[in-house]
Amino acid sequence: MNKYILSKKLYRNELATFYSFLIGFLIALAVGSLILFIQEKNPFDVFSLMLKLSIGSVNSLSNSLNKAIPLILAGLGISIINSVKLWNIGAEGQIFMGAIALNFVYINTSINNSQIYILLLLVSGFLGGAFCIFFPAITKVLFGVNEIITTLLTNYIVFGLTIYLINGAWKDPASLNFPAAAYVSESVYLPTVLGKLSSGFLICILFTLIAYYIKDKSVFGYEMRIAGGSELTAIYAGISAKQKAFFAMLIGGGFAGLAGAIELLSQTHRVSTGISQGFGYTAIIVAAITGMRPIGIFLVGCLFGALTIGGSVIQTIGVSSYIAEIIQATTLFGALVAQFFFSYEILKKDEND
């Protein structure tokens, strides 16, 4: 009846993920063009303006890379957690929690040496992110509670907590119409390294390497892969799958919390609802599109950071910034479509079969 059958390819091209990404990106640009076309805008003009204003000068390039920092760090966190085949949809909340924890420590301590103080604040951001995922993690390993739903719902709780704090206990009397916490002292700002580029980007490079090491080179990473792969193998190898899952989740949450801390110390300088603008969700796309590879996350994170900046600047010519988000999401859908053709082949059925 069916003349064609589907067959899994024996060999999968090593660069399949990369090619899929490129194809996906082209598909997304085509979809983006179509939307712009419907809105009676010239896609070529809009895209070239986006390109110019996101990577055209040192200033715009550094803006783009600054935006990439939270995407990369949260993406790395998601990829570490995915080593044990679990999902972290709560990076958005963990970013906010990182900033909240930082501010909490900042208010309650005082250290004269600003370098040590910055380090302490960054560590508290990391711990804040880890704290944020603690409940989903402990209920996952102890009782098997669906971590996708618990981490996602945590986002709404932490966002509500942020609004509660900046309207109440932490409210800066000077912030009237746009409630926010008080600014941190200038002595703890993260210094810039080039143009507007924050030194947070260097931390980001360091953590990309750390994530690469943890995932691909360390014993812990190896054990995580086994724990995520097969329960029986893990038991046979004497690996506690639950313990690995628990620590993977805490570390991954910490990465996202660190992103919030860096965002506070380098961009917003205070706790506000602007700490994250959906970075935690975009990070899911960044992580998934690279097949959870840290180096890939770093590169795609930079690209998506530029896209986000490009999306926000084209608002000045009356184009919605949502175009950038739609391109990002469609890239992943396009990549999924392309992945199919790298993993399967359609064969003609043999008549004698």
């Binding site: 209920t139 739903i149 509500g160 859908f333 999924l336």
Partner: protein, 307 residues
Amino acid sequence: MIDVQLMGLLNATLQAATLLFIAALGELITEKSGILNLGVEGMISVGAVSGFITAINTESLFLAVIVGVLSASAFSSIHAFVTVVLKQDQTVSGLILTILGLSLSSLIGKPYVGKKLEVKLESLIDIAEPSNIFQVLLSQNLIFYIAILLMIFTAYILKKTMFGRRIEAIGEDLKSADSMGLKIAKTQFIATCVGGAFAGLSGVYLTLSYVPYWTDGMTSGRGWIALALVIFGGWKPYRTAFGALLFGFLEALGPRLQTYGFEMSPYIVKITPYIITILVLVFLTIIKNGNTGAPKNIGIPFFRENR
């Protein structure tokens, strides 16, 4: 006086529950066929915005409901195509469906933010101040009754008809279903699109009745609560309805706590439904010892090995 307050609470409970329940019921059907669709939030949003835009431009509620339902269903077919036809990861695809749905509806809804709806889904029988349960039930709008019919209908189809048994067979045991000659891809594709249509109806209820205006992110996590509801209901329509009433009650109770004499920050009140959802989910998973009654093949793409 107490009675009027209580009836107000009951009314708000029913409305909040209807919204959650329709989306959850759709997801239940999809998941029964073995497809996990995490895109509920995005699909509700697409249905909500397209229904709202249609209502503003045509002033026809009937057309608005149809457009909302069909566009969300068409939108869910992206997920069906990627996971059923192309056999890609259901978690990834569903998540992106949510992200894409939210940004897409923000894009097309932008010119409509703050616009007032001239037509609104009115209750069938207008009762200004319902004083007993029957009056509250009677004063609901059409979608509430449709939701009840859908519940009975879905429960019947899943349990008593061949089509329903096929869906369940596919969700439970792909290999046996395949050797029985069931059309797996077709069934899963349909189940996913039906789930999308239900989410669209829930979205239409949101913008045409529950809060009759459009603003960004107004679904505010309801799609995810609906996903939790499916687990809560153990993949059974009636139990899911009970869960929806419970969650709807909690959502309705929050803003009213102050009138009952509880001093609570409104910001904290807002996050209670999410906290309670998590706690209920944890409690439920513990008492069922991890065995929630999920379809066994959920999330596993079907691929017939070469023989």
